[in-house]
């Protein structure tokens, strides 16, 4: 531990139990306190910390803002060295003509967009946690957000990485390098293949014109049909978000966003582009919404009106806090056309377990986020939440979907991996893990189901 202090300065090493306790959690899961939390200020220090930790036989867990929901950035068995990127939060270079920026992993997602705004640029992936989550954490989970419908997820926006490996050595990857696309392997690997020390990310130009619309529907089915109709008509808006009656009521009670509380579902639709085509686009979407049974239609033209409509969506999860003391967010994706079936399955699962469920999600991507509200102090309710969450996972898989759309696997879902992937499928992933981190020293016990070893599953010839 002294050596860690020499590497980064004693004030940047935390070992007091009260300090470590904070790092035993993410935004949802409980883990155990690590042995130490180290806060390096540059790549060289990250490298030194990994070397020292490895010499001590301690695993290394990289951590951004801790906004994850699946135990991806916490120690499971207790112990290990957590590397916090709180001091590596800067944009290092901005290349306006080529629309890219080099950033440290600890930079907050929203801060990056704010820092490049003067150049009329922005960073597209915008997870709900963007006010606090970091680019490093976003890269680890390949984070999405409402706008990845048209812009794509984090992996589409990462151009090059500087990575510290499990021995503390630094290597670089670039999507234009010859050879394997290691950048693609690293993004979304949840800190199990290497620790990102800096990244070149792609920036987009701010759209010239943005409009936001709100359509209310008598049923979740009709709203889902409208989603399919819009996409099927060749319109991929920048965001296509759905909220059900439970969420709408909670949002209205919390901050009167102006959503119609008599609707069974509302669609929040945003499109960004050029003023020249917005009227035609608006007319087409309105027509499709009404043709699929929309009860009402509202268009926000000014920034203030747009912000008001978005405020409800962005505050939805927080508003749920008014209904019950705790909530659990599931994260599954299904093919867009399976949305009505998936939502019915969610409703049935919640009803069978006597729980209230609210749905607020990325409808355009088929990415569901059922929110199960409960009281943590009631053990029966906790069991019901786990059972419902599990039933939702199974329903998504049965509909051809997957067990995580954007939150990640972490510790929470690792045992569910065998439900979507065969032993061979997982063995291929395990081969990659074993090349990058043969001793599983980086973020152990994440992603892979307990006991996965590629050699056991598929012995080499």
């Amino acid at each position: 531990m002294e050596r860690l202090g020499q590497a980064v300065g004693a004030e940047n090493v935390k070992t007091a139990p009260e300090d470590l306790a904070v790092y035993a959690f993410d935004a949802y899961s409980d883990g155990k306190p690590p042995s130490a939390v180290v806060i390096p200020s540059q790549t060289r220090e990250v490298s030194a910390v990994v070397k020292i930790a490895r010499a001590l036989g301690e695993p290394v867990i990289a951590r951004g803002a801790g906004t994850g929901l699946c135990g991806g950035a916490v120690s499971i068995q207790g112990g290990g060295v957590v590397i916090s990127f709180a001091r590596m939060h800067r944009m290092l270079e901005l290349d306006v003509p080529n629309r890219r920026a080099r950033v440290q992993p600890g930079i907050v997602n929203l801060h990056l967009s704010q820092q490049v705004a003067a150049s009329k640029l922005f960073y597209a992936p915008d997870p709900a946690s963007q006010r606090s989550s970091t680019i490093g954490g976003n890269i680890a989970t390949n984070a999405g957000g409402p706008h990845c419908l048209s812009y794509g997820t984090t992996v589409n926006h990462v151009l090059a990485l500087e990575v510290v490996d499990e021995r503390g050595e630094v290597f670089t990857t670039d999507i234009d390098d010859a050879g394997y696309d290691l950048t693609a392997a690293l993004v979304g690997s949840e800190g199990t293949l290497g620790i990102v020390a800096s990244a070149w990310v792609r920036l987009l130009r701010m759209p010239e014109s943005t409009r936001v619309w709100l359509a209310a529907f008598p049923s979740i089915e009709s709203a889902s049909e409208a989603v399919s109709a819009i996409v099927g008509a060749g319109i991929v808006p920048t965001a296509l978000e759905m909220m059900d009656a439970v969420i709408v009521k909670a949002v209205e009670a919390a901050f009167a966003a102006g959503y119609p509380t008599d609707a069974a579902a509302v669609l929040l639709i945003e499109n960004a582009g050029f003023e020249d085509e917005m009227n035609a686009c608006e007319a087409a979407i309105e027509r499709l919404a009404l043709a699929n049974g929309a009860l009402s239609w509202r268009a926000a033209r000014t920034q203030a009106e747009r912000d008001a409509l978005w405020a409800g969506r962005k505050g939805a999860v927080g508003a749920i806090g008014r209904i019950a003391p705790n909530y659990y967010t599931q994260d599954v994706t299904v093919p867009r056309s399976a949305l009505p079936k998936a939502l019915r399955a969610v409703e049935v699962a919640a009803r069978e377990n006597d729980l209230v469920v609210g749905n607020v999600f990325h409808a355009g991507d088929g990415n569901l986020h059922p929110l199960l509200v409960y009281d943590k102090r009631d053990r029966r309710q906790v069991a019901a939440v786990l059972s419902t969450g599990n039933a939702i996972l199974n329903a998504a898989i049965d509909l051809g979907g997957t067990i995580s759309g954007e939150h990640g696997i972490g510790y929470e879902k690792r045992d569910a991996m065998t439900r979507v992937y065969s032993a061979q499928d997982l063995a291929a992933m395990a081969r990659v893990r074993d090349v990058f981190d043969p001793e599983h020293a980086l973020n152990p016990e994440k992603i892979f189901p307990a006991g996965t070893r590629c050699v056991e599953v598929a012995p080499p010839q």
């Binding site: 390098d177 050879g179 099927g232 035609a280 994706t333 995580s404 992937y421």
Partner: protein, 412 residues
């Protein structure tokens, strides 16, 4: 496929089913037979030669569109499906996938992805790697591994599908890929203009700043035989606009005034067959001059593309070779073809050019041309910094070195 087999005297196998393909892999892996992997044989100018393989496995019989629901914006296709047949199917639903690879009637989806082909519309619609949502790969030992699925957002486990894109068949043989589809912009319009020396740099900057981003903007110098359009003294500019009908007029106006500001003389508009013109240019990327040419692709930043193109053209000419240039103003890459009718000292010239080009642009890699000197050239450009890790990956997936031996980066 027949040409590849005939030329290189390889035994060819074209499995009719995925099971047959896996059986073949298993047998070869067991008895030590080295396998070359081929699709439509349209990008044979990339990578080292197939000479390390005793048998060529061809995927062209696996050509089924497995699943396609236009409202899901996803399609699952077997790897041997040609780009043309997939494009035709998608077009019926007003959708497309911007592969933009040469000779689409022959090129296969699996081959195009495995080769990591990059087309000129990628800045706008994404690289092929950004459109893949799932895959099934046959590993060297004949087992199948799936990754991803048929959903557009999926973070369950590593992104294996993207890792396979550009892996040149060295980790396994892609047998199926699931891809995102995109709505095809209803309007397309092409522009052709001469691009004299004094206007070029400004034209590139103006094109990069256009609010309505062109789908492609290319400066083409040389390639007179391959690309039929009025050749200017110093090449011509090709711009493709794709948009909604409502936006096309404004995009046209903006483009014309931007080129006017750069001093570009008269611009010709081509409305019909605009996209076909792009296809012809993409074909030229890998068009050879008999066996007397070598073509490189140089990746770089858009802001440096114009300068890079000039520098490379001058280099080629300095060695008394004919230069063909396609410079991509939007993505920054430059395609440089060096050729000469007079074959005297041609090997030496190519070698000296290869040295000079790589000193200036270490990442320059060969994408076409099969002059005999080719094996002595830096086919993949400089080694990537993480080469050792890549070798370890190859070894983990194909420990006996069965698949595509010697063709990839670093002789993997």
């Amino acid at each position: 496929m027949s040409t590849a087999n005939a030329k290189s005297n390889h035994r060819g196998e074209t499995p009719a089913t995925v099971e047959e393909l896996c059986d073949l892999l298993r047998r070869c892996n067991d008895d030590g037979t080295k396998i070359g992997v081929a699709g439509g044989d349209t990008l044979r100018g990339m990578g080292f030669s197939l000479s390390g393989s005793e048998l060529v496995l061809n995927t062209t019989a696996l050509k089924r569109i497995v699943a396609y629901d236009p409202c899901d914006l996803t399609v699952a296709v077997q790897a041997g499906t040609t780009l043309r047949s997939l494009t035709t199917r998608l077009k019926k639903e007003g959708q497309f996938i911007p592969f933009d690879a040469p000779r689409p009637a022959h090129a296969t989806v699996g081959g195009t992805l495995a080769a990591g082909w990059l087309g000129p519309r990628r800045h706008r619609f994404g690289r092929p790697r950004d459109l893949i949502v799932g895959s099934t790969i046959a590993l060297a030992d004949g087992t199948l591994a799936r990754a991803g699925g048929m959903v557009v957002k999926n973070v369950a486990g590593y992104d294996m599908s993207r890792l396979y894109v550009g892996s040149f068949g060295t980790l396994g043989v892609l047998v199926q890929t699931n891809l995102k589809t995109l709505p095809l912009p209803p309007a397309a319009r092409a522009f052709l203009a001469p691009l004299p020396e004094g206007t070029r740099a400004r034209a590139f900057t103006q094109l990069q700043m256009l609010a309505v981003e062109p789908s492609a903007a290319l400066w083409i110098d040389g390639f007179e035989k391959e690309i039929a359009s009025a050749p200017g003294a110093e090449g011509r500019l090709f711009v493709l606009l794709e948009s909604s009908d409502a936006l096309l007029e404004r995009a046209t106006r903006d483009l014309r005034s931007a080129l006017g500001r750069a001093g570009v003389p008269q611009t010709e508009i081509v409305d019909s067959r605009a996209r076909e013109m792009l296809d012809a240019i993409v074909d030229a990327y890998v068009a050879s001059v008999a066996d007397r040419s070598i073509t490189y692709r140089l990746t770089g930043l858009p802001s440096a593309a114009q300068e890079c193109a000039l520098e490379s053209r001058d280099l080629v000419r300095r060695f008394a070779l004919d230069a063909g240039i396609i410079a991509d103003a939007m993505n920054g890459d430059v395609v440089v073809r060096a050729s000469r009718n007079d074959t005297r000292d041609l090997s030496l010239k190519f070698q000296v050019l290869d040295d000079a080009l790589h000193r200036a642009r270490p990442r320059a890699r060969i994408i076409a041309g099969d002059h005999p000197v080719r094996p002595a050239l830096r086919v993949w450009g400089e080694d990537p910094p993480a080469l050792e890790r890549m070798r370890a990956l190859k070894c983990a997936f194909d420990p006996r070195g069965t698949l595509n031996p010697g063709r990839f980066v670093g002789g993997m």
